[in-house]
């Protein structure tokens, strides 16, 4: 037993903030002081509050240190670990109560409304030690399944829990497993889709980095349920930490006999391999993913036959998302009713969202389904920084849509999001404020899909390209009102005629912004004006003569020499020379430069 635990976040966010060097320094200091039998330093997965990284927590006090620097290590050891005095200046402000005492982390606004199921071990255990996973009931669900349940029992529990696919489409997991179980085949496969490609989504990465064994255990459970003995995790090569921890986890599970032959002495065999994706967005689509595992170019194929009938190498296969799997061991251990008690009628359980964009608490949150967008953005996320007004939230990445401010009280679940023209997607949630131009946002996502379209079907390959060109016309101010109608028509054409999910959902960002923010499109077309002041071609910087003191600061900073004027006289911007970089506006101390 240790008297104190120091947990250092080893997620990608904090690692890029140098948290591993902090970890090394802590270990070195603890050894130097001879405290290694009393104090345990652990690196863990993501705590979720990435905005404040590097993060560390010291237990049993529960002191949550944020934005820790390498130089702070000595102070933390000297004061907190040796003398028992918490270093208040480094504490996350939210955790310090009015009386000066530390509040439990779960009482802070960021964590209060969260309910961690898929992320339960992230930020708690060391993902590189299987023993710590086991200490938190790891592999017990697998043991229970193999010794007490039939494969049909397992599928019944998963079906009854109401778990739906967390990758975005929301297909009932139990039903998928049932199809695969019912399919006849001499060999079956279990696959995990860890090809998280949506810009702004990083929950799958965090689960793999923070709790890789949960996914491995769940895949073994799924294999038992459908009668498979081989699994593949398809993970992007751009996630080096996740790949490394998965590799370690698989090796440790094999050493303990939790993967391999005759698991728990029950005669059940299951092994697992990693396949690295090269970062093509389309490989997150199930048929393309399996084609890629087979060693071919990652292109989708028409369905049916569905993977449950004819999947990887032509054999019955199930493919689930990382987050879906992370829920499975908990459902087996705590029961279907426990899981079904969370969430809404048709969307049970919790969902992890990656908060990004114009929001205070950038990071990872897990909330029960049915929580409103308002609670996520204001209560948990802390609202938009700098007092800006919330304009819209984008969910579902390039396949999703924008949710405007007046729908902020919609309870989030699969069906509600589709009803308002967006989708759950993998759970990226990008917040936009009044400074974001909605046409520009649509253009951003479409540019992404144009790049990522695999080119197999015409509707997607050429359709998205033409749609992108039309959007460029809008942002350049050369579009007509007819173009807007044509755009809408093309959107529906692409949706109806594309082969796979990529093309079928690619126009969503355009359709939803056209629907909710048509006034912004019209301002671009009719008035040749970008209301948010983003689209450069429609921008014009001006100096208000009354406010200008003639300090020459703007003229000195203008990179193209477009500003002229004499000292103490109002300056003028030459709009022909101006490249609209905005430096003059930033530098002006009198607010004399305006966008028009």
């Amino acid at each position: 037993m240790f008297r104190s635990h120091i947990l250092v976040c080893g997620g990608t966010g904090c690692t890029s903030g140098n948290s591993m060097k902090i970890y090394d320094a802590l270990v070195a200091r603890i050894q130097k002081e001879g405290l290694e039998n009393e104090v345990h330093v652990t690196k863990t997965g993501c705590f979720g509050l990435c905005a404040l990284g590097p993060i560390m927590i010291v237990y049993p006090e529960g002191a949550f240190y944020s934005q820790v620097k390498l130089e702070d290590v000595d102070e933390i050891i000297d004061e907190h670990i040796i003398k028992g005095r918490i270093v208040t200046r480094l504490l996350y402000k939210e955790t310090v109560g009015e009386d000066g005492n530390i509040k439990a982390l779960n009482d802070t606004n960021f964590y209060k409304k969260q309910h961690r199921v898929a992320l339960r071990n992230c930020g708690v255990i060391n993902p590189e030690k299987i023993e710590e996973y086991i200490a938190y009931d790891g592999y017990e669900a697998l043991g229970k399944v193999l010794t007490e349940m039939t494969p049909q029992d397992v599928i019944d529990v998963i079906s009854k829990s109401g778990l739906r696919g967390r990758g975005g489409a929301g297909f009932p997991t139990g039903r998928k497993w049932q199809f695969a179980k019912n399919s006849v085949g001499d060999k079956k496969y279990v696959c995990c889709n860890a090809d998280e490609g949506d810009p702004g989504a990083f929950m799958d990465r965090s689960i793999l980095e923070g709790d890789p064994h949960a996914v491995i255990e769940a895949m073994a459970i799924a294999a038992y349920a459908i009668g498979a003995d081989q699994g593949y995790i398809y993970v992007r090569a751009e996630y080096p930490i996740a790949v490394q921890r998965l590799t370690i986890a698989i090796k440790q599970a094999r050493e303990y006999g939790l993967l391999g032959k005759d698991i728990f002495g029950t005669g059940f065999n299951f092994d697992l391999d990693i396949r690295l994706g090269a970062g093509a967005f389309v490989c997150g689509e199930e048929t393309a993913l399996m084609t890629s595992i087979e060693g071919h170019r990652g292109e989708p194929r028409p369905r049916p036959p569905f993977p449950a009938v004819k999947g990887l190498f032509g054999k019955p296969t199930i493919l689930n998302n990382v987050e879906t799997y992370a829920n499975v061991p908990q459902i087996i251990l705590k029961g279907a009713d426990w899981f079904a008690s969370m969430g809404t009628e048709k969307s049970r359980g919790t969902k992890v969202f990656a908060l990004g964009g114009k929001i205070h608490n950038t990071g990872l949150v897990e909330i029960p389904m049915g929580t409103t967008m308002r609670e996520i953005i204001y209560d948990i996320g802390g609202g938009c920084p700098n007092g800006k007004k919330f304009k819209a939230a984008q969910t579902g990445g390039p396949s999703g849509g924008c949710i405007p401010a007046h729908l902020i009280d919609t309870p989030i679940d699969y069906d509600n999001l589709i009803a308002i023209g967006s989708m759950m997607g993998s759970g990226g949630l990008i917040v936009m404020d009044e400074d974001n131009c909605m046409v520009d946002i649509a253009k951003f996502f479409l540019e992404f899909t144009v790049d990522e379209s695999c080119g197999k079907c015409t509707a997607c390959r050429i359709g998205t390209k033409r749609l992108y060109e039309m959007l460029c016309k809008v942002t350049d101010g050369t579009a007509t009102m007819e173009d807007l109608d044509k755009m809408e028509e093309l959107c529906y054409y692409i949706k109806e005629n594309s082969l796979c999910g990529l093309g079928q959902t690619a126009p969503n960002p355009v359709l939803s912004t056209l629907h909710y923010f048509r006034d912004e499109y019209e301002a671009h077309v009719k008035e040749k004006r970008c209301p948010a002041g983003v689209c450069k071609k429609l921008l014009r910087y001006q100096i208000v003569a009354d406010k200008c003191k003639g300090c020459t600061l703007c003229a000195r900073n203008c990179p193209v020499g477009a500003i002229s004027g004499t000292v103490k006289e109002p300056h003028v911007i030459d709009t022909d020379k101006c490249i609209k970089c905005g430096v003059c506006m930033e530098k002006c101390r009198f607010g004399a430069v305006i966008k028009a």
């Binding site: 037993m1 240790f2 086991i134 017990e140 728990f264």
Partner: protein, 121 residues
């Protein structure tokens, strides 16, 4: 690993490694060892180690053991405070052996060891 029993045995063993990795709940016994300069000089570290070892040996998972600073009674160090059942008990002039006895009789069996309490000697 060839059986569920083996897994459970490993889980229980590992739990003591991860105990104390949470803020103590209201049903937990909290033990604090005074470890300022005076406490350490008087021999608080072996007392703390004895408490930790004993908790591990007895597989006590509802106990939180940590250190605290000086409470101002330096002549009675090492001091160990036990918070149990909403009450605070202050043990003074502790030794590793006394600490083991407190663990066994007070923390496990619920009978405070009167003769080590402050005011009793």
């Amino acid at each position: 690993m060839k059986s569920l029993e083996e897994l459970k045995a490993l889980r229980d063993k590992m739990r003591s490694q991860t105990d104390n990795r949470a803020v103590a709940g209201s049903d937990e016994t909290v033990i604090k060892v005074g470890m300022a300069t005076c406490g350490i000089a008087a021999g608080a570290r072996p007392v703390l180690t004895a408490l930790l070892d004993e908790a591990e040996k007895r597989q006590l998972h509802n106990v939180s053991i940590s250190q605290t600073g000086c409470i101002g009674l330096c002549r009675l160090e090492p001091i160990v405070e036990v918070f149990k059942g909403g009450q605070k008990y202050t043990y003074v002039l502790m030794t590793p052996d006394k600490a083991k006895k407190v663990m066994a009789e007070h923390v496990v069996n619920g009978n405070p060891v009167k003769e080590y309490l402050i005011g009793e000697n």
